[in-house]
Amino acid sequence: MSIKFHSDEWIKELCARLNANEAYAKAAANWEGDNIFIIQPDADYPDTTYFYINLQHGKAYDARLMNSLDEQKALFTTSAPFNTWRRVLEGKLDPLQALFSGKLKLVGSMAQIQRNPKAVYELVLVAAQIDTDFGS
């Protein structure tokens, strides 16, 4: 059964899947940093949604839907309009192309990102495996 994208259930599902994924655990073994995903409004999605997830050494913790950025600070923020997230998660837009073209904005320690590109990539692959209901 599909899970609604902009929901607490979805980010918790991602957290569970990351913790069960060996490839992610290996790729992100050196990753230290929590992340806020921001889903920005566009023509198909009027709201802004914030997800929080803490990623440490290949494991994920404390995943939840946030009401606003005031609730929590994080080392990284990853933001993009709803349809960009959707295209990435549906496999229609390569996450690296999204990042390098500026469609997906990842802000935080450039050192961590550049040293651990596979951690970012594997995370997206795991997220893409979730049967997601994008609402249309």
Binding site: D94, F100, S101, L106, M110, A111, R115, K118
Partner: protein, 600 residues
Amino acid sequence: MNGYLGKILRVDLNQASLWDETLNENYARKFLGGSGLAARYLYDLLDASTDPLSPENPLFFLTGPLVGTSISSAGRYSVCARSPLTGIWGEANSGGFFGPELRYAGYDGVLVTGKAEKPIWLSIVNGQAALHPAGELWGSDIYTTQSRLRTVLRDQKVRVACIGLAGENLVKLAGIANDHGRFAARTGLGAVMGSKNLKAIAVRGSGEVPLYAPQEYKAVTKQILRLYKDDFLAQSLRQYGTAVGVNLSHMLGDLPIRYFQLGEYAPADDLSGVDLAEKYLTRNTACYKCVIACGRETHSAMYNDSKVDGPEYETLGSLGSLLMIFDLEAVIHAGHLCNYYGMDVISLGVTIGLACELFERGLLTSKDTGGLEIRYGDAEMVFRLIELTARQQGFGAVLAEGNAALADRVGVPELSATVNRLEVPMHEPRAYLGMAVTYALSPRGACHMEGDMYTLDLGQEGGEEIGLIPGDRHENTFEKGRSAARLQAWRNLYNSLILCQFENPGVHLLLEAVNAATGWDLDAEDLMTLGKQIVNVKRLVNFKLGLTKANDRLPGLFLKPHKEGGSAGFTPDMPTLLAGAYAEFGWDAQTGRPPEDFLL
């Protein structure tokens, strides 16, 4: 003639004579500058009988219409001649400040023919050119040469392009250095300079580049500058230099390992640009007007190197992962030695890599190398081989001829990692299949500066109106061949204007800049047409020098898939990809010959 100084300095070293020649405006309009304009000139001056190391081989230093203006990224110059390494079209370009300074001194370019009786150097100061005996400068390394000429001319702002010991010794991997340790490295043009007994060219001037619409030009260049503030690639390059690409390339199977035979190997991540910045970076260095400053000045306590230029991504690959050396300090030192002697790190690394592989297979033994055991992972041996090569001593004299010559000598041409005898750079054509087209069709042999599919297919945008659209890097189609050809035309345009390929303002803004500089009324499609003309004129030079369609190929090494890593299982479908490229360029499908009507 807006955008140009309108003058070429002609230097005949046989007669020790110097004179000004008016720039051919028709050629400039069709081939812009840099390697494109040089190719049009050299098309008339070269033929199959021209020995690359003879006085007859013309050596052309050229700038482009945007060089030395306010635009960020136009600090480059090209050097072109028939290559002694490959025997075909030779070109290399370099950043820094030499190109702009040559224009301020009053010239768009310098065309050198002949050979000086004794070693000399050339000065060009505010329109006045003179030849000087090199004296004890001959035998100096590149750093000493630049420093001494600034002292002789009593001006610390003098810019110098020069050769080191390798160029003097006619090593076919020798490059031309400028602005401390920047290099026009590829195709052995340092040896051409050495063959002419020309140690250096020193330039200084206070002139300006005439622009058609200075205010509009200034406005568009400001607009371009603003783009780089938040650009992910620009930020990455600023922080970590070109070495930033190591980890990502490794992940994607783009970083060559163990002489192109491994697709992934965990220790390769130790060559990270992040580690380089955190442990060994002294400061960033920038070319003329560049806001990115990807240049690295590094140091190594272990090897007592206090001021090293680089290493670049290409150095970390060719003297690192390719040779199974994963110690950053060792690669810094190896790169420094290449700089000191004035050699191309890519060509030398790939040549040493072949020697390692031949040893591994028992095809080369210490009996062949004067007692040397050349093994993967042996950094000390690499240091020794670099010095022997620069001095043409012992087995170094064999390496000095390049990878293809070594493969021929041992009787295994199939193990050569070259296209048309130029060593393959550090981007795997199995990771980005479009690179297979770029390498196979590059006029100077395997060259990553002829079409960076690894940037386009990684998401580089801004060229949609001329068909430069990021795609699937593993697509093996006719259309991918077309895409690679369009990018090759675009980068040939860049190499003629001459711009740095790390700054990509998009077609629209670049077009505005070119039109405001020159007063031409070009549209986007005209830029693509010019790019294709430039590719075509270089191809016609090569056809004149003996190349045929049969030379459009990739070495067999790259036609076997990797078993591991981000490129595992992929090989380029060359007939399909090349057919797409031929169609895009409008070449004859049977002969591969381009049209010639644009030459006049």
